[in-house]
C-alpha cells in the first residue's frame, strides 16, 4: 500500500495581508512547521505579500505541480555532490531502507531553514525506522556549507548542480520576472548562488522512496510556505514499512 499526500495546487488560497509590526523570532523547538509558518507570515511586508501571492498564483495558473512525480512512479536515480563535494548516488542512499528526499529552495528562504531545522530534529527518529534523509538545494559553491554551519545541521545536503534532479522529478520551474525582480531587490542573486544565468527554483517537495526505487510518498506543494511536517513523513515511513 502506498500513501498519497500529493497536495493539489487548488489547495492554495491567497492570504490577505495582515499588517503586524511585531517580529517574532521563530523558535524551532516544540513548534510544528505550520505554527512557524504562521509566525513567519506576520513578518511579511506589503511587497513580500505581493510577491508571494503573485508567485503562488502563477504556479497554480501554470499548474507546475502537475508535472511532479507521484506515488507509484519510479524515482529517477541521481549522483550529486554534498556540501563538501562528496558524491552520493541514489542507489547508495536507498540501499538499506527508504530514502526521504526533500527539495528546498535555498538557505536564503526562512521557510526552508525552518523545515531543515525540523528535519534535523527528527533525524534520529527517521533513522530509527531505517530511513535515510537527504535534502536537495539548487545552491552551489560554499552556500550549502555555510547553511549547514549557520544552522548547525548534520544532514546530507545535496546540491542539484544545474537542476537536473529537480527537473527529472518534475518540480523545477523558471522564476517569473516579477519574482526575480523582488528577490533581486532584496539582494539575492540566484545566478551566483546556482551558477546559472537563468534563474530556476524547485517547488518544495518531499518524497519517500523505497529501497527498490519506487515513490511511496509524495508531498508537492506550490505554496512554498507550506511544508510537510516531519511527523507526517514518519507516519508515511511507518506505513510504507508495514505495507507488503
Amino acid at each position: 500500500m502506498t500513501t498519497t499526500r500529493t497536495l493539489a495546487a487548488n489547495r492554495f488560497q491567497p492570504i490577505d495581508p495582515q499588517p503586524d509590526d511585531s517580529q517574532p523570532m521563530p523558535n524551532q523547538t516544540n513548534k510544528t512547521l505550520a505554527q512557524i509558518r504562521t509566525e513567519l507570515l506576520t513578518t511579511f511586508s506589503a511587497a513580500d505579500w505581493l510577491s508571494y501571492n503573485h508567485l503562488v498564483g502563477w504556479l497554480r495558473d501554470t499548474d507546475v505541480a502537475s508535472h511532479a512525480l507521484k506515488v507509484g512512479d519510479d524515482a529517477p536515480d541521481f549522483l550529486l555532490p554534498d556540501a563538501d563535494g562528496r558524491l552520493h548516488s541514489s542507489e547508495q542512499l536507498r540501499r538499506n531502507g527508504p530514502l526521504v528526499l526533500s527539495f528546498f529552495r535555498g538557505g536564503w528562504c526562512p521557510f526552508c531553514t525552518a523545515e531543515l531545522c525540523a528535519l534535523q530534529a527528527a533525524k534520529e527518529e527517521f533513522e530509527s525506522v531505517g530511513a535515510t534523509l537527504a535534502v536537495v538545494t539548487p545552491e552551489t559553491r560554499d552556500f550549502p556549507r555555510q547553511l549547514k554551519r549557520s544552522l548547525g545541521l548534520d544532514l546530507k545536503v545535496l546540491s542539484d548542480v544545474d537542476y537536473g534532479v529537480a527537473m527529472s522529478y518534475g518540480v523545477l520551474f523558471r522564476v517569473p520576472y516579477e519574482t526575480k525582480a523582488h528577490y533581486s531587490g532584496l539582494g539575492f542573486d540566484f545566478g551566483a548562488r546556482h551558477g546559472s544565468p537563468v534563474w530556476m527554483l524547485p517547488i518544495p517537495a518531499t518524497y519517500v522512496i523505497d529501497a527498490e526505487g519506487r515513490i511511496r510518498g509524495a508531498f508537492v506543494e506550490p505554496d512554498f510556505t507550506i511544508r510537510e511536517e516531519p511527523a507526517q513523513i514518519l507516519a508515511s515511513l511507518r506505513q510504507a514499512a508495514s505495507a507488503p
Binding site: L40, T43, F44, S45, D48, W49, S51, Y52, T62, V64, P76, D77, F78, L79, L80, P81, D82, A83, D84, G85, R86, L87, G107, W108, C109, P110, T113, T140, R141, D142, F143, P144, R145, Q146, S159, V161, D162, Y163, G164, V165, M167, S168, G170, L172, F173, R174, P176, Y177, H182, Y183, L186, F188, D189, A192, G195, S196, P197, V198, M200, T225
Partner: protein, 311 residues
C-alpha cells in the same frame, strides 16, 4: 517543466525543423508541437518563431537554450553512468590545467569520481588559458581550470571556483627570507624570476611596478623550473598560494596581499556531458577548495553571511 518537453525543444533548436525534430524524438509532430507550447507557456514566452519557411529561436529561446541543455545533460548523465558501469566502459576525462594550476588541485576530485566511475581514465594537459579555450572548442579536452582569463567565448561555460592570493617563494638563504612579509619596495630591489605566459603578470606589473619595470631574472613557463631556479638562489618567484613547493623553498606573504586571482572552471556549453565530465563539474562546483590553502581562509567575495529573504 518536464524532461520530454525540454528534449523536444532542444531537438527543434538543433534541427530548426519541426518534422525532423519529431522524427529525432520519435513522436508525432503535433505531440512535439504541443510539448514545446507547454514549455513556452511555463517559461513565459515564445521560444521559437514559426514562419512558413523559417524556424528560428526567439531571444528567450536563445537565452534559455544553454541552461536547458545543461540541465538535460545533467539529468541524462545518470542513466549513461549506469550503462557505462554495466558495460565496464572506459570513462575518459581530459582536463586542461593552466601553468599556474597545480595538478594537486584535481587529485581529490578525481579520486572521488573514480569511486562511482571505476572506468575513469583521466588525461591532464597543460597549456596557457587561451590555448586551453581552443582545445575546449576543438573537443580535445572536456574541462579546463585556469586563472584570470579574458574574452571567454560565449560557447564556453565559466564558473568561479575560488580566490587565492599570490605569495613570494624564495630560497632560505635569500636576503629577504627572514622577513615576516615582503613589501613592494623590497620587490623593486630584488630579481624576480619571470613566469613566461603568466596570466597574472599584468596585474603584478600594475600593482608593483606601475612606473619602472621589475628586474627580471631567468625565465620559464614551468612552475617547477622556476622553483629549481629559486632554490638555487637565482631570484624570487611570485606564485599562487596553492602551488606545492620544493621542500627547500620558503613562502612569505606579500604585504597587504595586493595580488590575488580567481581560479575558474571552463567547459563547453551544450556538448553532451559524459558521466565523468558531469561528475567532475559537479564536484568542482561544490568542493571546499580552501583546504588546498590550509593556512588561510579563502576569501569568497560574493558570499554574504547567512542572508535571508522574508518571502
Amino acid at each position: 517543466m518536464e524532461l520530454h518537453q525540454v528534449r523536444y525543444f532542444l531537438a527543434v533548436a538543433s534541427t530548426l525543423n519541426f518534422t525532423r525534430a519529431a522524427e529525432q524524438c520519435n513522436v508525432t509532430q503535433p505531440a512535439l508541437t504541443k510539448g514545446v507550447q507547454k514549455l513556452e507557456q511555463e517559461l513565459g514566452g515564445q521560444l521559437i518563431y514559426r514562419e512558413r519557411q523559417l524556424t528560428q529561436l526567439t531571444d528567450l529561446g536563445k537565452e534559455v537554450l544553454p541552461m536547458l541543455e545543461r540541465t538535460l545533460a545533467s539529468a541524462e548523465a545518470v542513466r549513461r553512468r549506469a550503462q557505462e558501469f554495466q558495460r565496464k566502459d572506459v570513462a575518459p576525462l581530459k582536463i586542461g590545467l593552466a601553468p599556474s594550476i597545480s595538478a594537486s588541485l584535481v587529485l581529490d576530485p578525481i579520486a572521488e569520481i573514480a569511486k562511482f566511475l571505476p572506468g575513469l581514465h583521466v588525461e591532464l594537459r597543460e597549456g596557457a588559458a587561451k590555448k586551453l579555450v581552443d582545445l575546449l572548442l576543438e573537443g580535445e579536452i572536456n574541462a579546463a581550470m585556469v586563472g584570470d582569463v579574458h574574452d571567454v567565448p560565449a560557447r564556453i561555460d565559466d564558473w568561479s571556483l575560488f580566490e587565492e592570493r599570490y605569495v613570494a617563494v624564495l630560497a632560505p638563504t635569500h636576503q629577504l627570507a627572514n622577513r615576516p612579509s615582503i613589501g613592494i619596495d623590497d620587490l623593486r630591489e630584488t630579481v624576480l624570476l619571470e613566469r613566461a605566459g603568466c596570466d597574472v603578470a599584468p596585474k603584478i606589473q600594475q600593482s608593483f611596478f606601475p612606473e619602472k619595470p621589475p628586474q627580471l631574472g631567468h625565465c620559464s613557463g614551468h612552475d617547477l623550473h622556476l622553483q629549481h631556479m629559486a632554490a638555487a638562489g637565482f631570484g624570487v618567484i611570485l606564485a599562487p598560494e596553492h602551488m606545492p613547493r620544493l621542500p627547500t623553498l620558503k613562502t612569505i606573504p606579500l604585504e597587504g596581499d595586493p595580488v590575488s586571482r580567481e581560479v575558474r572552471l571552463l567547459a563547453v556549453q551544450g556538448r553532451r556531458y559524459s558521466p565523468a565530465l558531469d561528475a567532475f563539474v559537479k564536484v568542482a562546483r561544490l568542493r571546499d577548495w580552501s583546504v588546498e590553502v590550509p593556512d588561510r581562509d579563502v576569501p569568497h567575495a560574493a558570499v554574504p553571511e547567512v542572508a535571508r529573504a522574508p518571502a
